[in-house]
Symmetry: C2
Subunit: 249 residues, 2 copies
């Protein structure tokens, strides 16, 4: 288990080999064992293999090659639709059309997704999270025909790896852990925590390619820009509302 | 790995035995290997062992006994504070004070939390998620002194189990998985998917104790009520805003 967790790397190149149904079922079943709030299990997994639908998803994920190449694409959704239908069929009046319910369901979906990814890696598969599921949630809803009460919160591609990338760098443990209470970072803390990352050859290459003075500028000016974040913030909040999760009065 | 995932159950009774620092570090390090958006690692783990602080957290978590009994409490936080400080020290202007950034950081924190829980279980520890971290986020922020840019999204207690509960029931795989697109549930689907759960002895006992006709009513009328959900929805959205994540204009 620990070895699987510790050797995780995102895989972006896949063999064309498909994933056996039995293996896929084992992986999905592993997902269902994650903790869920009150055992409500308010999530769904949409497993997409159809080439045409995958092509549409590929466009939502900014045409990242791996979406077409990997045999399986799973969309993890916050899902109160099933639970609400059950309530209505059982003389119970559901009160889950609000933001807390959305967030609760999103937690369920995300814990499930991590179980699925780790089980997949144990089975020799590679995985890659697509951070873009929330960016173009509305289009994903259209493509996958997600009803009211369902919002995509993460997407993952799975398949047999056709590359062996090294481990990705991480901040030192002291950089992400606090004891008892949050101990806010001093200027010196920040310098120390980011020192190794900034000293990587890879960082130097990125600075040259992007003609930037600091790695942080590559994030703020190129990769995760304020104007994009604002645009997608509005879009995602609209989607949460459209899918029926903003009745907070 | 798979066996660890498949035998997960939430533990609510703990031995007083503490967790060795080396084991704890191994578990926390396992957390850091989870996928994070753009490798920004915008999360923090606050590890609380201090009895007095734990007692304050216990109140936030509706005085659930296990918060006092388990030796370790970890609060998983969406955290752009560290990243923002780094940007500002590196002549970069962060644009991460919006909802998308909050949600991105929450995903990081939640994937990390699941890695931590599975690594803990592999080390013979028991864990239990506290769904209440989002309910009383503002008080947790006060207790743990979380600065702007930091929001708690999940909390977990860890310790050596003093009980051996059976596996919790789950809906059948067909109930939570869709193929290619979302195949919305018919009335018959709902009846079939929930049949086993409704037939459990445990369900019958709950109906008797709560004097209800259906299990769904126990959720809607007792456990997760509309008025509570609405109250905590507003609170949590206010907290997200107060912590600096709602500048979407």
């Amino acid at each position: 288990m620990l070895d699987i967790i510790l050797k995780h790397r995102s895989i972006r190149r896949y063999k064309s080999e498909d994933i056996d149904d039995e293996i896929l079922n084992t992986i999905l079943s592993a997902g269902t064992r994650a903790s869920t709030t009150g055992n409500m299990q308010v999530y769904s997994m949409v497993v997409t293999r159809d080439e045409d639908i995958k092509k549409q998803l590929w466009e939502c994920h900014f045409k990242q090659d791996m979406v077409l190449k990997a045999p399986v694409h799973i969309t993890f959704c916050a899902d109160f639709n099933r639970f609400n239908k059950w309530c209505l069929q059982r003389q119970a009046i559901p009160g889950y059309d609000n933001y807390l319910s959305f967030f609760t369901a999103a937690i369920d979906a995300l814990l499930v997704s991590q179980n699925v990814c780790l089980a997949a890696e144990e089975k020799g598969l590679g995985i890659c999270y697509l951070g873009t599921a929330t960016y173009n949630a509305r289009r994903i809803i259209d493509i996958l025909r997600l009803p009211s009460g369902v919002v995509p919160v993460a997407a993952v591609v799975l398949g047999y790896p056709d590359e062996e990338p090294g481990l990705t760098d991480r901040l030192p443990l002291e950089g992400v852990v606090h004891y008892d209470r949050y101990d806010d970072y001093t200027k010196e803390d920040i310098d120390r925590i980011y020192a190794d990352k900034e000293a990587l050859d890879q960082t130097r290459e990125l600075l040259e390619i992007n003609k930037k003075d600091t790695l942080a500028q590559i994030f703020t000016d190129n990769r995760y820009k304020r104007e994009d974040n604002i645009h997608f913030s509005r879009e995602f909040l609209d989607v949460i509302k459209e899918q029926g999760f903003m009745n907070n009065e």
